[in-house]
Symmetry: C2
Subunit: 148 residues, 2 copies
DNA sequence: CATGCTAAAGATAATTATTATCATATCAAG
DNA sequence: CTTGATATGATAATAATTATCTTTAGCATG
């Protein structure tokens, strides 16, 4: 788990920049740093955590900017919010289809892929409900570290 | 969707009462009302929403009691918290295995069952991560009502 | 490469969601 | 009915997120 090293960062940054241009979003220093930090994070950080990490390099950034920027990115489909059981929102820049395991003890979130599931058709009753845009699996359990 | 009328309420209340006794939880008026309200709700209400509904019948109840009681119930496995993308926690008393569809427009949460999925084995990599206790699917999309 | 328009950032404060503290009330055992 | 432990309600605190408003800085244009 979590050993799939993220696609090359420089490539992601280039794509990010052009996506901003396309979406009429200004490519600011803050946005670049927030995106970069999230893109290289493997732990699905919350806004507060991202803020702490970015502050080291960019001490003038405000927490509010992090929140607003994440919301903007999400709206434009540049990042996504991870479904969780806690009250704090968690984010990721990895947009490739994958799923999550959450440790109910330490709150860590890890990725896993399951193409077999991705290819399966949803049960018929779901079609009546409306139009599904994302299929996420959220496993909950106790990670190896927490199980000691 | 959502047409599976909840198992008979009286039965749920009886089971709830004996579960409380077994767990050394006092069977208070408030706990009964909170559980009853949640058991008959089909919409996975947040604490605030439950509070509003219960207040009509029990005007002296406090929001804090609702929060504490839900936390207690959850700890004892009497109810569960629904994974969501929003910052407000949502709950349900239905403990039978099932999954959720979330409307990203109106925030409504509906149930669906998928025994085919429930019986499938998880991919091998997950076993290395730790011990999984719950497998939830969270579909995100636009419900028929919101799609107009 | 200066100028000006406009979106974005930062400071500040306000909301919203949830949790803690503590005095009083209530459950349930004897 | 008395008693002792627990739960509740009042109050206040904390955590998470969002709004307002002034200043700053992308970036298009000449
Ligand atoms: Mn992920
Ligand atoms: Mn449900
Ligand atoms: Zn853990
Ligand atoms: Zn809807």
């Amino acid at each position: 788990m979590n050993n799939c090293s993220q696609h090359n960062l420089t490539g992601m940054m280039t794509k990010f920049t052009s996506a901003c241009r396309k979406a009429d979003l200004k490519v600011t220093h803050q946005r670049l740093e927030i995106y970069r930090e999230l893109a290289q994070a493997e732990d699905h950080p919350a806004a507060e955590m991202l803020y702490k990490r970015i502050s080291k390099r960019l001490p003038t950034i405000s927490l509010d900017t992090v929140y607003r920027t994440l919301a903007t990115f999400e709206k434009h489909g540049l990042i996504s919010r991870v479904p969780t059981l806690e009250s704090q929102a968690r984010f990721e820049a990895k947009m490739a289809r994958h799923h999550h395991v959450v440790c109910s003890k330490c709150g860590s979130i890890s990725d896993f892929i399951w193409s077999g599931f991705d290819e399966t058709h949803l049960p018929a009753q779901v079609a009546d409900w409306g139009k599904v845009t994302r299929k996420n699996i959220v496993l909950v359990g106790i990670c190896a570290a927490c199980a000691r």
